[in-house]
Amino acid sequence: MSQENGTLIKVEDLQVTFTEPGRTVHAITGLSTEIKQGEVVVVIGPSGCGKSTFLRTLNMLETPTAGRIFFEGQDLTSEECDVNVHRQKIGMVFQHFNLFPNMNVKKNMTLAPVQLKKKTQAEADERAMELLRRVGLDDRAGAFPQQLSGGQKQRVAIVRALMMEPDVMLFDEPTSALDPEMVGEVLDVMKELAKGGMTMVVVTHEMGFAREVADRVIFMSEGNIMEEGTPQEIFEHPKCDRLKDFLSKVL
């Protein structure tokens, strides 16, 4: 599974352009990077700089205009590649949870692994309960999403993605839609995951989380990586003015 140098995702000269009537947006402008097995990468940057687009392109929810994305050595952008198969190995957590309102918590979690024949219903049920216990929600297995608080919803969304036993987890501002008192419970789950060795790419404005958990912080500006380094380097010794300016606003 891991490549010889432990690279899980390799992004080569990625470009994403959105064309709408009368408007062309260059959301990602030739971005290249690598994400290693077990690495926790935090992506920061001002609103509209392309963080979500970058993350969403990693599992092909957005289609690259140019460039290539390798996941476990497979080129996701090639015509022959069955993206559905690779998406099973790439978990994604959204800002607005996106739980399925027509199913209870357990069904939200077991639908995909059972339909995709990763697990039998019994195995999936058992694994779901195990994961729910781990995030302190085993008593909510029969509840429907609309009965849960924001923090509970996001914890369910995280374990729903984990049900597919992914090799990497992508988080797009997982705590931005939460009331402040619920941010902690979601970040705690993410810290646990990181500690357990999960490869993670996290877009967030939680700088405390970045300092504590990130192996590498990427600062994006205008659709590309402007500066990157350890949390120490990025937060204590920022080099470019844009980053200094950004940090002065968020810290």
Partner: protein, 242 residues
């Protein structure tokens, strides 16, 4: 007063009882209901197909290709059907397209089904589009295919929002079938026209069938709102369960 009642009773007997006219009325009712139900089935199938083509085309980044051709065909179908009167469509189907067919039931159900499909397609498409985009993204991000995501996640949520519109379409369909006598079918409207021609009584047969249409529509309306409440209750009941 008594005379008046006696007259009414005589009219009633003449219109509904004499010459076993009630039997013809029952068979007319069967024709009306059968066309309605079969046409709705054809309409739903056509509607879902067209709606899925149209909404997946809308979501696609790269336009053109086979899907583009299908989308254009669907667009023409919807525009033509919604832009011409039902009676004209029925006449064209009977006298032009299926001129060799003597099976008027087939002609009528196809005509009404094709007509209904065009309206249902837009209703169903609206329902699909109304489901938050994040829902299908969540499904796809788990590795589910487009069809699996539609089937388990999007369509079940869309059905809830389109149920009232579906009920309205069924009711509109029922009432529109009253024109099928132009191709010689003996539905309840044709029955009333016949009775009026034989007995020279207009009041009883026409008010009579109006009452029948009305009763069916009221029953259908009740059924639809009952189903709506069931779906809504489903959520409340589940909400209470924890």
């Amino acid at each position: 007063m008594q005379e008046w009642f006696a007259e009414i009773a005589a009219d009633f007997t003449q219109s509904f009882i004499d010459s076993d006219r009630w039997k013809a009325l029952l068979s007319g009712l069967g024709v009306t209901l059968l066309i309605t139900v079969l046409a709705l089935l054809i309409g739903v199938v056509l509607g879902v197909l067209v709606a899925v083509v149209r909404s997946s085309y809308d979501q696609k980044k790269k336009k053109g290709g086979l899907l583009g051709v299908l989308n254009t065909l669907c667009y023409i179908y919807i525009t033509v059907i919604r832009g011409t009167p039902m009676m004209v469509q029925l006449l064209i189907m009977y006298f032009v397209i299926m001129v060799s067919s003597t099976n008027t039931m087939l002609v009528a159900t196809l005509s009404f089904g094709i007509n209904s499909g065009a309206y249902l397609a837009e209703i169903i498409r609206g329902g699909i589009m109304a489901v938050d985009k994040g829902q299908s993204e969540a499904g796809r991000s788990l590795g589910l295919s487009y069809v699996q995501t539609m089937r388990f996640i999007v369509i079940p949520q869309a059905v809830k929002t389109i149920l009232p519109a579906l009920g309205n379409e069924l009711i509109a369909l029922l009432k529109e079938t009253s024109i099928v006598n132009v191709i010689g079918m003996k539905d309840i409207t044709k029955w009333a026209i016949n009775v009026q021609g034989r007995t020279y009584q207009a009041f009883m047969p026409f008010i009579g069938i109006a009452a029948i249409y009305l009763v069916i529509v009221i029953v259908l309306t009740k059924l639809v709102s009952l189903m709506e409440r069931r779906l809504a209750n489903d959520v409340t009941r589940k909400r209470d369960s924890h």
